[in-house]
Symmetry: C2
Subunit: 355 residues, 2 copies
């Protein structure tokens, strides 16, 4: 089988981790004679913006459209405002390609220790399903009385039944398909009194179609605390765009850090390409040093393989990552070692062959 | 000196912890001959709502107005929707009395251990200043196309220059007054593109008046992760209403749990009464068992004493709490013991006399 992947290495450590990711893809094709990857790299990043005045060409989305998947490194550079780098590249891709599911596993890998004193691997193994197209990231709103003492800004959170139903239903289906019995929906209907009660209603409606799954609505403040105090109580957590964003960075922290956390921006219907990216940013502070942790990217590729239906290969990648972590000899500085990005990437690739 | 306090014990464990709080106030007056407290209790809670169809009488706010301070236990009961119990009692008090500062210390008490493996007491000692009157809790918005597949809800986040300036300035002043050098402002201007850039601008403007304080704008997702990975990097954290809500529950978790976390809803100008309340809710699951941890309430009373200018007494209360925790013999179940609410309260009161 033949898969095509559009690759956007991006800024900062993005190209460094992506280089390792692409080597991994080659090794996979090498190991599994029956499949191949055709990749095409797109130089859309903040440097491109400085040269062209935009993050991607006018027909950027059209050019990505034919690919099976998109691989993204990281976007953002000092001096280019986020509302440009993010709103002109990542968010248009998520939205135009109906990648309404942002799938983010929170799982403590074997070989690593959680910063939570009393939590073991079995306690930290769940998935957050983040709504990825609407809600708090609406782009709607503005300012009034600019420059006066009466200045104000309004930001509209926009939640549609359509948008909520599809993400909630996906989450229940995911729980069912993976044999999980608990679904937790993040809410804040005690403080946010229009959008969140609407969200709650739809969660309750849909939950009645899944009598075998225990559904819990939990306020985002308490839920954040529970990620620390009792992460073992979660199987599938579904959350709005903003709440999912917060919970997954927090989740990354409780399983050992942002250098490890993968994500898939998924269009479940496969009408459009899905995009896989590490959760971490471009990390200008360590860019160019060759010490970024490539695991978040390699794990994202593992998720990409799952999405393409190559579940055995996806598992092979994740198992190899864990093997190397258990061996413990090759680690980047963020997880307590002295290895470079490439060294850790190579160790994982070699492990693919050994398995 | 004579102080008056309106007391709203509330629902669930509220009355249980408040009983202990009121005993403590008596002991303080007893120890310090020169001061006295006049308290009046108001039975406004969900039971009151069931009987009267409202959470407090029509003139409720007027009746609270003359008091120096308000002490609140906890509000909320199964069967009464939060948008009633919260929006008709807590939020009107916070807003009408211009309690625009919600002050929430994140401090690991001596004698307790953090759930974070490598963090010590010195690593966990900062304060979150939460905006308490506007932002995401705006009460503005609504729904369209109700009951159709096209239904949608809009919630307006409303941020005013006035509202942002006063909370940010308060935070810088607090840092200065307490000899702190770092101020971190929670933002999300990369995803939320109208209100948060406005917030950022004002933070930057005001920071120029405080050249000795190092100001950092940190996205709420990363900031939540940092509460786990490097809490030692914070002195004063200022956050919007929602972000402050999330950060403080999370902060409570990393210093040992919600049973310990106090808060002050403060009107710094003292034109109106300020309100002190534990962060925890009414906890229906343990209500009536007499095992709720009273420390959050007692610490809130310590903050109340600080606010009244009785800093030595505030310190006496907090020191006594820590003494009892260090001794380690009397603890409620949430912190690993078998004591009741009253037993722990009594132990702390007895310690007041010993000090
Ligand atoms: C009850 C609820 C609305 C409240 C809030 O979010 O403000 C509570 O969580 C708090 O933190 O005081
Ligand atoms: C860059 C930013 C807008 C983005 C988000 O909040 O979605 C990032 O934090 C993420 O989680 O993918």
């Amino acid at each position: 089988k033949h898969y095509s992947a559009a690759v956007i290495p991006g800024d900062g450590i993005g190209p460094e981790v992506m280089e390792v990711g692409l080597s991994l893809l080659q090794s996979i094709a090498d190991i599994h004679g029956g499949i191949s990857f055709q990749t095409e790299s797109f130089p859309w990043n903040c440097q491109y913006y400085r040269e062209h005045g935009r993050m991607m060409p006018e027909d950027g989305l059209q050019r990505l459209r034919p690919f099976d998947v998109i691989l993204l490194g990281a976007i953002g550079a000092p001096g280019v405002p986020d509302h440009i780098s993010v709103w002109e590249l990542i968010l248009p891709i998520r939205r135009s390609f109906q990648q309404y599911v942002n799938l983010r596993p929170i799982k403590l890998l074997r070989g690593l220790e959680s910063p939570l004193r009393y939590k073991q691997h079995d306690d930290l193994d769940f998935v957050v399903v983040r709504e990825n197209t609407e809600g708090e990231y609406s782009n709607m709103g503005g300012r009034l009385h600019v420059g006066t003492p009466y200045e104000l800004a309004v930001q509209n959170n926009v939640f549609t039944r359509y948008g909520i139903e599809r993400i909630v239903r996906f989450s229940f289906e995911l729980a069912k398909a993976t044999g999980k019995t608990r679904l937790t929906a993040a809410t804040k209907s005690n403080g946010i009194n229009h959008s969140m009660p609407f969200w709650d209603e739809i969660v309750k409606e849909i939950s009645s179609d899944y009598p075998d799954i225990e559904t819990q609505l939990t306020h985002i403040d308490a839920l954040s605390a529970f990620f620390v105090s009792r992460p073992e109580s979660f199987d599938v957590v579904v959350a709005s765009n903003l709440f999912g964003d917060i919970l997954t960075d927090l989740g990354a922290a409780v399983v050992g850090g942002l250098g490890l956390a993968p994500s898939g921006n998924i269009n479940p219907e496969k009408q459009y390409p899905s995009m896989f990216e590490p959760i971490h940013g471009s990390a200008p502070d360590i860019a160019g040093k060759g010490i970024a942790n490539p695991i978040a990217t390699l794990w994202s590729i593992s998720m990409m393989l799952d999405h393409l239906g190559e579940r055995e290969l996806g598992k092979l990648v994740l198992d190899s990552i864990e093997d190397v972590l258990i061996a413990g000899e090759v680690r980047t500085p963020d997880i307590g070692g002295k290895a470079t990005t490439r060294e850790l990437g190579d160790a994982i690739r070699e492990q693919l062959y050994r398995r």
